[in-house]
């Protein structure tokens, strides 16, 4: 079988499987078909497992008081890569869903580190209104930084600046997932 034919047939099978699976969930086949139609753009990069933070990590696990800038995000989608992207306007709606679902609030630091946010200004993060309403915003924060067993955690004392939504990637990616 020629390569192009193989690719086409595999794509057809995958699409059919998605629609069957989605039907079992009660999703419309159209919306699922849309979800496969990620906008063309730059090839997705495989993110690094380890990164070098802009500031030296706490050697004793923490806390270390730091000020960093980054984008508020759903940490699960960003770290796992399950949606293709986990930041930016293209992922904003998904980030709202995940925040409301009790997913982990995170900050994708400009230093490349995905930080887990455990508290914001004394507010508990799970499905909290503040956590939901600052999704995708670029913020500068003052926080205690902990590192434990390959996870970077922050307890945010204060949001120093909020630049609003800066990372506009929806023209490249569309709205993920489901394309709508």
């Amino acid at each position: 079988m020629k390569f192009k034919t193989l690719i086409r047939s595999r794509t057809t099978v995958i699409t059919a499987l998605v629609i069957v699976a989605a039907t079992s969930l009660g999703l419309s086949s159209a919306s699922v078909a849309d979800s496969l139609n990620f906008s063309s753009g730059a090839k997705r990069e495989v993110p690094p497992a380890t990164v070098t933070p802009g500031i030296a990590p706490p050697t004793d696990g923490g806390p270390k008081r730091i000020q960093i800038t980054g984008e508020i995000m759903d940490a699960w989608c960003q770290v796992s890569g399950i949606m293709g992207i986990g930041v930016g306007t293209g992922h904003h709606q998904c980030a709202i869903w995940c925040a409301a679902g009790g997913g982990p609030l995170g900050i994708q630091g400009k230093d490349g580190v995905a930080y887990i946010v455990l508290k914001v200004e004394d507010r508990d993060p799970i499905a909290d209104e503040t956590s939901i309403n600052i999704q995708t915003d670029e913020v500068k924060i003052d926080a205690d930084w902990y590192v434990r067993d390959d996870v970077n955690y922050l307890i945010v004392h204060k949001v120093l600046d909020n630049n609003g939504v800066v990372n506009q990637n929806h023209q490249q990616w569309g709205i993920v997932p489901f394309g709508e």
Binding site: W76, W97, V165
Partner: protein, 174 residues
């Protein structure tokens, strides 16, 4: 090729949330830095572990939780078996108790997260699907956990709808 990879991931994701769990260990999803993870340990409040500020009953469902193993390794429990939902609803009832979890870890950008697909509370107990969020959401909204409304909770949740009405789907209307 990129669309194929996304499609394959979506197939796997939908299969996990829509179909019953296999009897064997968690199946791969092609996540970043993915590893199979069967973790046994105590359910703990992460803030309590790190900062020693310990809320009663692990925060009563309002704090992020983890699993601490007998050799003191802390796993951050970030994802459940419900689409777009975390695992606190599954673990909160077992604060301080030992559970066995089955799922995956994913690693990227310097952090590792645990995805719990199912768990059990004793070696000989039955596996419990990690669908506590949908169970609790359905109860709060007076619907069956198996209803379409509950399975598509993210389309029917007032907090979500209000936020998207306020921000727009792209967040640019803030």
């Amino acid at each position: 090729m990129r669309n194929m990879l996304h499609g394959m991931k979506l197939v796997a994701l939908l299969a996990f949330v829509g179909w019953s769990m296999p009897s064997n260990a968690a199946e791969p999803l092609g996540l970043n830095g993915e590893n199979q993870a069967q973790v046994t340990g105590k359910v703990v409040d992460i803030i309590c572990e790190l900062a020693h500020e310990c809320a009663p009953n692990c925060g009563n469902g309002k704090l992020q939780l983890g699993i601490k193993t007998a050799d003191n390794k802390l796993y951050f429990a970030s994802k459940s078996h419900v689409i777009f939902a975390g695992s606190t609803n599954d673990l909160a009832a077992y604060c301080g108790k030992t559970v066995m979890t089955d799922g995956l870890t994913t690693t990227a950008y310097g952090s590792t997260l645990l995805y719990i697909q199912r768990f059990k509370t004793s070696e000989t107990g039955d596996w419990i699907d990690a669908t506590g969020f949908r169970r609790d959401w359905a109860k709060a909204h007076g619907v069956s956990p198996d209803s379409k409304t509950a399975k598509e909770w993210y389309k029917n949740d007032k907090v979500v709808l209000d936020a998207i009405a306020l921000h727009g789907k792209l967040g640019l209307d803030k």
